[in-house]
Assembly symmetry: C2
């Protein structure tokens, strides 16, 4: 690991992930889409202007009801308008507030929207870091392209993201150990009802206070976070397997893009899970009941094989049904590095395999991985009348999940120097 990568002036590092080769990532990083005409301007971070708020809000305490509401944004937002005729305008950081959107806007009718989710961390050394943000930048571009929103050079977006974090971090990440959730978004704003690629769009980046979702020790101060972490005391995540008449995504669809269309339609099943005392839906696919994702997280199972080896399995990316999670890629990478005895396999696997492993007492752990919930160990899976209780549900600590979580946190909070931890330079007033 090159220590230079931890420096604030270094460019985003190419990653070691399996899903995209370095060359492939570089191709995407330098790619610019839909700028055929020389008069059309590309996204340009060097044009950023800023207007500071005059009366900043109070920053809520880490575990307060305000934080659990997931509705408190920082003082500012970064916005950048795009039009088909002129391209990207100059981005600006300005006071956070409501957007003015016409009732005919594309995003309100045709779900022309995509987003990213990542966090900024105030490390033990007092410096602010992002975790593998280059991965979010390239995925953001892929999602935008999939939903017919304008493309951009991911490197310019990444620079804007750092500028935004650097602007609000001094006030909004006051203490070492604090984190802030970042939500870059693009929406189609064309005020016209024709079903077509939007001719106007808005990119914006906001920072929102998030509670420690998925942390077994966290107790929400209010009743409803919407994330289900409050169900049944959160000793471990309880999953309800999806029914055959409700699927999240399909091959040839868009399950691998971070677009709104993957989320709204899942809320009915999710609400049913909550009502029945589960935290999340475990999304299955097909008559074989392939295991795909858990809520908005990727899902891993660790078991002994019939031959006695240790295996960690997760659904593959090839058929485009699951999201290519940054945490997912990092779990795979870190386990391969730190735990050579564990065979990490990306392949299709079924509920039947999980139940068989349970019956034969080979099941060790299951956990979700994602930005919001981070690493969330699972205690129970309910599958069409059958309760699969994982060792965690019987009081056995999820040691592997906790170790993985620790290794990744050490990078996020700068305890371990690693190229995945990208330091952001802060702008003090």
């Amino acid at each position: 690991m090159a220590p230079a990568a931890d420096s604030p002036i270094s460019p985003p590092s190419p990653t070691s992930g399996a899903a995209l080769t370095k060359a492939g990532q570089k191709a995407i990083l330098t790619q610019t889409i839909s700028n055929d005409s020389p008069t059309i301007t590309d996204l340009d971070a060097s044009k950023l202007t800023s207007t500071r708020i005059t009366s900043p809000k109070a920053v809520p305490a880490p575990d307060s009801p305000e934080v659990w509401s997931q509705s408190v944004a920082t003082d500012h937002m970064l916005t950048c308008r795009w039009t088909e005729s002129a391209g990207w305008e100059a981005p600006e950081i300005k006071p956070y507030g409501a957007l003015s959107i016409m009732p005919t806007a594309s995003v309100l009718h045709y779900a022309t929207e995509c987003f990213e989710g990542l966090k900024a961390y105030r490390g033990d050394d007092g410096r602010v870091r992002l975790f593998r943000p280059d991965r979010n930048a390239t995925r953001f571009l892929r999602s935008a392209t999939r939903i017919s929103l304008p493309g951009f050079p991911p490197s310019e977006f990444l620079e804007l993201l750092k500028q935004f974090v650097g602007y609000d971090a001094p006030r909004w990440l006051p203490h070492n150990g604090d984190f802030l959730y970042l939500r870059p978004t693009i929406i189609g704003t064309s005020p016209a009802l024709g079903i077509q690629k939007p001719k106007e769009a808005l990119m914006y980046i906001i920072g929102v206070c998030f509670p420690p979702l998925g942390d077994p020790k966290a107790v929400p101060a209010t009743g409803g976070t919407g994330m289900g972490a409050e169900a049944k005391g959160a000793a471990g995540m309880k999953l309800l397997a999806s029914k055959h008449d409700m699927i999240r995504a399909w091959p040839g669809g868009f399950g691998n893009a971070k677009v709104g269309a993957n989320y709204g339609p899942s809320l009915v099943a999710q609400a049913e899970a909550r009502d029945r005392g589960y935290n999340q839906i475990l999304w299955l696919f097909g008559e074989e009941c392939f295991v795909t994702e858990a809520g908005g997280s990727n899902f891993f199972v660790l078991w002994k094989t019939k031959e006695g080896g240790l295996e960690m399995v997760t659904a593959p990316l090839e058929d485009g049904v699951i999201l290519e999670g940054v945490t997912r890629a990092s779990v795979i990478d870190i386990v391969r590095e730190k735990l050579p005895d564990v065979n990490v396999v990306e392949r299709k696997f079924t509920m039947e395999e999980i139940m068989q492993a349970d019956k034969e007492e080979r099941l060790i752990e299951g956990f979700g991985s994602g930005t919001a919930f981070f690493i969330a160990p699972c205690s129970d899976i309910h599958f069409r009348g059958v309760d699969v209780v994982l060792p965690l549900g019987k009081g056995v600590e999820a040691k592997y999940a906790m170790a993985i979580k620790g290794w990744l946190q050490d990078i996020m909070y700068g305890r371990t120097k690693h190229e995945w931890g990208v330091v952001v330079e802060e702008q003090h007033e």
Copy 2:
């Protein structure tokens, strides 16, 4: 047909459609969802208030560039706010203008949005009519429920829709033969990033000037309508069959709900079709290449059977992959009534069957049916290297499609008294 149904004071008529029984429709029409608490208020049209605009805009001419832009709304909009704690507030008609939406709003991230599309027609007798609006009302409720937005009594919504049309029709439908496109919409407005059922929502109804899309005689005044009507002179609709790696909807998904999530993800394929000179994508499903929808319209094929009979086929509703179109139901009903020699069949059918019928010279017509394009005869289908030229593409008039269009138009414009034509009472200043 009871003439009373054509009276402005009659309630919405139950329809004779095959998809929902009368009892089933009535159950939905009187249904009220999510109002467990007596303190929560249901949608109530009697509470409607209105504020008239002081300086009305100019109404664009029927075939002008403004109309082809599909972006000119009428002077007013109807809005109604909902919150989980208090239910529906009093609806209001007010000047049309931008909505104020927080950057964290559910609709901008999770596609919690649904809509309807129907038209208001100024009839030959000078009266304004809606076409089977009770069907739109019940479907609107079903879409809202599918995407976790609040429910409402469809009868109250229908009353609000009539009030809105009655308010703006005097200025915006000045001449007999004019029509206006209506777009009822519900969006999730909760300003919180938790992935959950929205706790706040906004219903709104707008009226937008639409060009005569799908009319072979119509020539757009501007280059891009986004609807593809301008491609290749529009003598007939040219369809590009979808590729195996791009699928619109899936059983257990949400293809039968009018939610944004069905539209945004289809724009990439649609843009490719336009670039290649086609009007719309013909959406196929599965390895069998079942024919499902054409663009945003339902799709019908008329052919001679091998036994020599006349058959009109369209995809079935059962597996939830296609939208339950109001025009689709009306085509089925009117053909059964007017053309007893044509056997109307709702069943799965394949591209192979179309190609076989073409080869054996049994193919008579193909057409899309929907509100925006109405009845749009098809001249060509390109299917993975094969061009299927329908009789229309060889200069044979699409007589059946034109007859169906005429019968339905006669109801819409009040030439034929029919319970499907629902008169709206206008409010003159």
